[in-house]
Structures are given as C-alpha cells and as structure tokens.
Point group: C2
Chain length 575, copies 2
C-alpha cells in the first residue's frame, strides 16, 4: 500500500505508505478526496499546481472479477471543476498487483522536456526521456514503447491532442491485446497529462505484491459468488457478450431518447444500420471478433474487434456511446466511418463523445451537412494536424459553438451530454445538470429506472421521482467507482444478497467491519469532496443547469422538454 | 423623457414615458439597473433574452460641456457578467436632444434578416433593411449610410467583428467629423448588437426636444463655472489639448507600470518613439491635427488626427490605451503601425485593448516575434477575414491562450487589463479584480492616488490603502458614468466646490434636492445592481481574482508582485 509521487518540475520521485486519510479508498474516492485536499481549486488546470492522479479501485488486484478499473483524476481544463474519468484495460490491475494505491503526478516539466514513467516488476519507478515521442499517435507510440521493453507492460498514454493540451484530449490505455483503445475520455485529462510533460506510463504486468487480504478465504468465497451472479444475469451473461454495449442503440432509440442530429430529434431514421445486431452480424460476417475480452480479470467479454470488408483490424471496441456520437448525433448511418472515427479518436487521443458532439455542433451550424461521415473524418484528422480549426474542434462543443456563433450546444459545465437525451429520459437531465463532473452518464445512469423495458417505474418524460433516482444513483456510483467494479458487472451487485457480498469483500480485504451505512457514507464522502472542490473553484447552483435548448425545444417523437425545475435540481444534493 | 423599445424578433417599436424606477438615471446607472431588472442573468449573452441598451448620461443634452457620453450596456459575451461600455462622439448628445432616455434593443431578428435603426429629427423611429450591409467595415458603412440620409446624423454601428459576434467586437460611433472612430470597445457589446441583427443606429443630430430643465438659469450658472474650472486646470486645459491621452505614456512608463511584451516588463525600451511628445511632433510635422475636437459639447479637444508621411488621414484619435496595447504590450515601437492598427480595429469593429492583448499573448506563445508590427496587422486583418485563427484572435486573449496552450493571459473575467500593470500600481489590481466589468481601468482609475507625480500618497507597490482607494473611486465613477461627464473633464469635479456644483446641476435639471449623500447612494445603487446581476449569473468571490502571473512573476524594474490578498480583495464591496 504505497502512494507514489512524481514531481515533474524536478523529476524527483518519492514513495510513501498510503497516508491514513486515504486508507480504505481507491479509484474515484481516492482521486477526488486527494484532489480536493491537495489541489488549489482556483489553480490553472494546465499549470503546475494541478495534480494528475491515477488510482486503481479499492478491490482492484484482488481475485474479484471485472475490477481492472483505473480512475484518473485532476482539475479539469474542460469543466474547470474536479474530474474523475474511469477506464478499463490492464493498467489498474497492473498497478494494484504492484501494491500501488495511487500515482500522483505533480508540478510541471520544463517546457523543453517530455517524459515517460516506467514502473518495473520490482516496483522501481523511473522517468525516462520521451522528447522524441511528443506528437506521436497512440498506436505507433505503444508499438514503439512495447518493442523497447523486455517484459509485458500496460501502457497508458496521450496522443497529439494531449500533447497540444486540448480540452477534449483523452488518456488512452492498452487492452489485453496491447492496443491503446481504452479511453479515460472525459474532461480533458489527456491535456493535463500533456501539461505535466508526461507522454506515457509504462507499468509492468508482472507485479506480484498486491495488498494482502485480511481474510483471503472469506474473500474468495464472496468473489466466486459474485462471478456466478454476473454469469447468471441475462444482460451481463448473454446480451453484453453477444452485442456489446451497442445493444442499447435500438433500446434508447425506441424510447425516443437517442439524440439525433445535434439533439434535434430523439429517434434516428438510420438506426437499423448502426444497431448492435447489425454491428454484430457485420463483424461476424467479416471475420472480426464479438465476445472479445478487453480488460484484465473480465468475465463478460463485451468488447469487440471491428474489421473492414477485407477482415483487417479497424478498431476495438466499438461501443454504444461512440456509435451514438459519431453516428446518430451527426446523422451518420455508416458503421464503417463510425468505426474509423472511433479508431482516430483513440489514435489521436480524443474523447469520442465530446468530439462527436463538437462535430455535430459544427454540422448544425452549417459547416458541413449532417450525415457526412467523410467530413467528420476530415475534421477529426484536422485536430491531429493542429490547425486553428482543428484545435477548436479538439477543444469541444463549447469552443465550436463560440467559433460558429451557434447556440445549440448540448453541454453542461462545458462537457457534452452522452447518448441519452435529457428530454426523453428526464432522470438523465438531473444527472447531467448536477453531477460535479459536468454532463456525464456514468455518474448516475438512471435509464433503467425510467424505461419500462428496463424495469423502470418512473415516467421518463416527467419530473416526478427523477431527483431522488439521480441522487441515490449518484451516491451509489461514487461508491462503485471507488471500489473499482466495472459498471457492466453491476449485475453482481443487483443480484439477491449482492450488495452484502461486496460489503463482505471490502471487509475481508481491510479487516474492518463494513456495512450498508458505510457504503452510503463512502458515496456521500466522495460527492461532498467533489462538490466542495467545485464550490471553491467558484461554482454555484447556476452551474447545475442544462442549456436552454433542452427547456425550449420539444424533442420528437414525444415532443417533451425538460420538466425538472431549477428549484428541484437544487435539491439533488440535500446532504 | 421617453424610453424606446425595439423588439428585433417581430420588428415592433414602442415608446413609453421613462418608468418611475428609471427616473433620475442615465448612462451606466440606467443601463445597469435596467439590465439587472429585465435580463435573466443566466441567459445566453448572444441570445434573444439579452437586451442591448443605449443611454446618454443624465446631464447629456443640457448646456453642460463634455457630456456627450453614451453608455452601452448588456450582458457581456466576453465576461459572462453585466457590462457597460462608455463612448463619446455625437450619439449621446443627439439622442438626448431628441428627449430619448434610453434605446432598448430586445429579442433577436430572424437569422436571415439584418437591420439598421433610424431616428429622425421629428422623433420617428424606423427599422430599415440592412441585409446588404452585413460584413461591411465601419468607414465604408458610415460613408454609405451618410450619403443616403438628407440630414446630419450620428451613426453608431458594428463592423465585421460584430457581424461575426466575436467577443472582442466593439460598437463604433461617429465623431464630429462623421468618422466611426469612437469605440464602446469593451466587453464584446458589438457581438450583442450583431446577435440582435442590428448593424447600425442612425440618429438625427437635429433634435430640439431635450428634457426640460427645472431651473434653467441656475443650471447655466453652474455649467459655466464647470467649464471655467476645466479650462483653468493644467491637465484638461493644457496637457490634454497638447498631447492627448498619450501624455500618459512617459508617466506610466516612468513609474515602471507600463505593461510591456505581454506584461513581462514594466518599462518599454522603445518608449521614446511612442510617447505623447513624439506623437504630437510627428503629427504636426506631417500636417495632421493635434488639439482636435472629437465629441459634441467638448471644450478640451484631446483628440488628434494621425496622418501618414504624405499627410493622408490614418486614424483618429490615437489614444494612450491603444499606443500601449498595440505598442509596448506587443513590443512595437513604430507609431505608424500602431496608428494603422488603431484604424483597423475601428474599421473592423474591435476593442483595441482586448485585441492588442490577444496579439501579445499570441506573440508571447511564440506565434510571432514581439515587436513585429506587420505581423500584428496581419493578425488583425485575419479577424476581418473570419478565418479560424482570425476568429480566435477576435475572441480575445483567453481564446488565444487556450489555442496556443499558453497561460500568461492578463485578463480578469475574460477581459484584458488596460495600460497599467497591477503590480506597478496596486490600486489598479483591486479595480481590475473586483470591478463587475472585468479588468477595466475606467471603473476605478486610482493612478493619481498611487503615483507621487500625480499627487498620490499611497505606496504603489504595497497593499495598504489600495482597497479603500479603489472602493471610493469605483463608487464615484459609477455616479460619474451615470450623469455622463467625460472622464477627462473630471477636473471640473476636482476643483474647489466642483462636486457641489454638479449636485446643483442634477438638482436644477430634476427639480429635486440632490446632495453629497445622494451622489454616494447613486454610485452604490449602480454597483449593487451590477454585483447582484453577476451573482445571479453565477459569479462568486473566486471571480474577483487576477491571473496567477501577477502574483508569481515580479515585474521589472521594481520587481514587485501583487500584494493585495484575496481576503483584502473580498472587502472591497463592504456594502
């Protein structure tokens, strides 16, 4: 249990026992509480006072399945507030197997220097010169770095967008096949990494010193039960392996909540061409892979490998949010261009959501026609070139809206919405508006509570019950993201006795009692730290608002506007 | 006394008696109190809910000299807060002579429509089609509009920058020679005008129905006394007519507070080439004009007409703030290129300060070398072309900083500082940080209280006394900008009995008692409305801060940093 601090200003590296205040934390809980405690809230997000924190979940590195979740945290250059972005792959597991609670990147390298950080199987940590790697795209970078290392490594890195410190820059990390296709996409944390002068983390996957478990036998029993529940569940055991997250395309579109053509409509006429079923058939017919394992310790295999008509690799994994942002949101029904755009975003190091929405705003402003996938590809390529327009696109929807003088910009706190229109699923309106993260779907995904097909009981077009649903889910998710369980493996929590099973594992790792009240307290503690940081940074309730378009423009086909009032929004965090 | 509302959405025009709540107000007091009362603070500054208000000062249109001051107010697209920008010329006098208290532009014209508003000598108000004028530069525009009118008019308009709704866009207005060289430069109000679909105001200068004076004889006596005091004062009676505001170049540079090369130094090595004395000699040698009258009712004549070596008109009036922003701030010691840049900004409709500082930030980031006047001209021309980089430059220093990933951006609330480094004259640090307007020198110019040569008694490099000086001056200036007295004619207020003389004029116009306490109450009322608006818009104390560079980088030659603490800043508005 050690916390490693890397000071980029003087390249000094220190290791300390994880301080008491950060004990029994991991993932988002650790990044957010550390940032709130150590980073001046009003600092320049791209300056030396900001800190970039990488933390595996509290349960990462244990025998529990689907826990290779890495939280990346910092003050965000996109939102101006606190940020945690969560990613799978192999990095979290690799760090946790080395007994590393968190990696804290501090200070700022001199402007003429650029580094990579290498952590070996013996736990030694070293900054190595990466001056010649600045500007490299991630696939070529990872190939080069991998070739230079003797042992199997997990690589976490930025592409040209991060090097240019653009606000949509992602942190990319390698999957089990060693491809940098997993993204901590949101909030421009790739720009923070670039501002530190850090191109890549190279972490040995051969670590053998994870934190000891206080009660290993009890833990194993619980973790086996958990895995059984995940396998037994229809969604995580059958649908996700078969279709991946793309299974949501038909479902959300059917509900009329699939934001189409910059959220002018809630259903996309080309939906059948980009549905999960269509994608899975196409991949299979071309000899690609569905039911693909992307992350360490995964037993769901919701990933895929999208290939071209000749069977050559295009991208992995093509996910629901990207099929939306580069598909319906820009009016594009061509899966091949969507897959290419997904690859380009991974390769250049860009959030697919913020970038797709930026393209959508540009199209809505008349710059290019909706549905022109080739134009979208050109726009994303322009980001990598660093032209003025490219940098505007790489800075996200707000920058694009300013540039074209266009006010239909679906963002909150500067971050784009995700693939659920807040007018069609009004619980998402509450989550987008109030999450300390800006518009974010994972912070409080209440789709299941809104849509009847998912077992929901709340009217998705009304305000009633939405604040409560979002509040409870936001608290729950803050805890989930802290222990480090994959969102798609939540079926293990939802199963009968599933929550108690997880409490027992936390207890079996720590040796301390842990029960339901502790879980809620944990979620509350994380959210309170995040809200406190944002308040110090100058945010008020006025920041917890959706843009006017969602209140004024009825969304076809249900022709609803957001019904949750500002007063109701402000009761979300009643703690 | 009438208030005219123009609804651009349906092109309806209504005239009403000035409502009670806006009585005895004018200028900034009227624009700010109206905006705080009628504009939703969280609205889109470029959307239909914002209102653009043009208001002459309360004393404008009376026999008092130097009162042709027009306040232009709105929510600012640059700062996100309330804005009043103040300009001379002939417009304010023309409106007041028609008995117009304020012109309120509401709603938003359909996107395919563009208008000009014409007000005739008989008071009739009409929207006329200006679809073919969109994109025109101001000099050509004014020439065309003037040629089409029968009688002498004052024209207030926007250039291409305003048409493109860029955040540095100014509102330009004609001087006594009919040139659009007077700018309500700050806060992007030209973009608001563009967003309304309004290219120009054309106001007859033949109005003969000013508000009646309750006691005309008493008023005349006082106004004569005022004029005498202005004439008798050395600064307004001799120095300003001789050198114009450029007299400050040597003084502020001598004090080590002339922000040079993006505020890396406080003294400019090329200062002698751009001083007021040098400029005046050059203008005279070439046959141009110093001691030039720019504004209606002016008796100071601080304006000038800068000409090229062949004696041809280049610009009017070349002022201190522009000599700084396009001179020292970008390391440029060539008066000819400074004059050309001044002209271009007027012609394209850009704030010279925000634009010069945007160029300075680009140069500081390495885009072009400091001192390259030709490169600066190219950058400003690019704004007019509407290229992506041009639009970035036209959006101001923050946009340029984001584009180049450069954090030395001397702005507060998004607006650039003016020609006084807050480290060299620390009272200006308080004004820049706390003014509801963003970094603004006119809101609380405490240079005279800081510099010994100006009779100052406060240590300009220390914190002591600065908050009090700025507070008192901000209150005073809110009142000055409400009655509409030119800043340079304040010698009439500073003279013995000068304040009482002005109180008597307010009383002689209104027929109601007005004394010192009323003056302070007026200033407080205006500032409170402005602060209230900004709070509703989501501003907290965290917005009242200077950028880190001013706290961290000692400024040569005195090597001072800003010493006023955040806690002290927060005591500025103790009312």
């Amino acid at each position: 249990m050690k916390l490693i601090r890397v000071n980029m200003t003087d390249q000094s590296i220190t290791s300390e026992d994880t301080p008491d205040q950060y004990q029994m934390l991991g993932g988002r809980g650790l990044t957010s509480i550390l940032i709130n405690s150590e980073v001046p809230a009003t600092c320049d997000a791209l300056g030396p006072e900001n800190k970039l924190v990488f933390a595996p979940g509290y349960l990462t590195g244990t025998p529990l399945i689907n826990t290779s979740r890495l939280s990346v945290g910092a003050k965000s250059p996109l939102t101006g507030g606190i940020k945690e972005s969560n990613v799978g792959g192999t990095a979290a597991y690799a760090l946790a197997r080395l007994g590393i609670t968190a990696l804290v990147i501090e200070g700022q390298a001199p402007s003429d220097q650029y580094y990579a950080l290498a952590i070996d199987a013996d736990g030694s940590v070293e900054l190595i010169d990466a001056g010649d790697l600045k500007g490299m795209r991630t696939y070529a970078l990872v190939e080069k770095l991998t070739a230079a290392r003797d042992e199997e490594c997990s690589i976490t890195c930025i592409g040209p967008a991060g090097d240019m410190q653009l606000s949509s820059a992602s942190v990319q990390t390698t999957d089990l096949d060693g491809r940098p296709c997993r993204a901590a996409g949101r909030g421009g944390l790739g720009a923070v990494m670039g501002s530190k002068g850090l191109k890549a983390l190279i972490v040995s996957r051969k670590g053998k010193t994870p934190d000891p478990l206080a009660e290993p036998d009890a833990f194993k029993t619980c973790s086996r039960n958990y895995a059984k529940a995940v396998k037994a569940d229809e969604f995580s055991g059958e649908i996700l392996p078969e279709l991946g997250t793309a299974c949501l395309v038909e479902a959300i579109n059917g509900a009329g909540a699939f934001p189409t053509r910059n959220a002018r409509e809630g259903q996309f006429d080309g939906v059948e061409k980009i549905s999960g079923e269509t994608m899975a058939s196409l991949i299979k017919a071309r000899g690609g892979k569905t039911t693909h394992k992307g992350c360490a310790q995964c037993i769901i295999d919701c990933s895929n490998e999208f290939v071209d008509p000749q069977g050559r690799y295009v991208t992995s994994s093509l996910e629901y949010e990207t099929i939306w942002s580069m598909g319906g949101m820009i009016g594009n029904d061509d899966l091949d261009s969507i897959a290419k755009l997904d690859f380009l975003c991974d390769d250049i190091g860009l959030d697919t959501m913020n970038t797709g929405v930026a393209v959508a705003v540009a199209m809505d402003a008349g710059y290019k026609p909706f549905g022109d996938g080739a134009a979208a590809i050109e726009m994303v390529e322009e980001v990598a070139k660093g032209t003025p327009l490219g940098k505007i696109i790489g800075s996200g929807p707000d920058a694009v809206g300013r540039h074209f003088g266009h006010d239909r910009v679906p963002t909150v706190k500067g971050q784009s919405i995700a693939a659920y229109d807040p007018r069609g699923i009004q619980g998402m309106a509450v989550t987008y508006a109030t999450s300390p993260m800006g518009a974010d779907h994972t912070a409080g995904w209440v789709v299941d509570q809104n849509l009847e097909d998912f077992g929901g009981t709340i009217n998705p077009l009304g305000a009633e019950g939405q604040v409560e649903a979002s509040r409870d889910t936001q608290i729950h998710m803050a805890a989930v993201d802290t222990v480090g369980i994959c969102d798609f493996a939540q079926s293990g929590l939802a199963a009968e006795g599933g929550m108690e099973n997880v409490f027992k594992m936390v207890s079996a790792k720590s040796g301390r009692p842990f029960a339901e009240a502790d879980w809620t307290d944990l979620g509350l503690r994380v959210l309170k730290a995040e809200r406190a940081f944002n308040r110090k940074a100058g945010f008020t309730n006025e920041a917890d608002r959706l843009p006017a378009m969602f209140y004024k423009e009825p969304l076809p086909p249900h022709n609803a506007v957001v019904m949750v009032s500002n007063e109701e929004m402000d009761t979300t965090f009643d703690f």
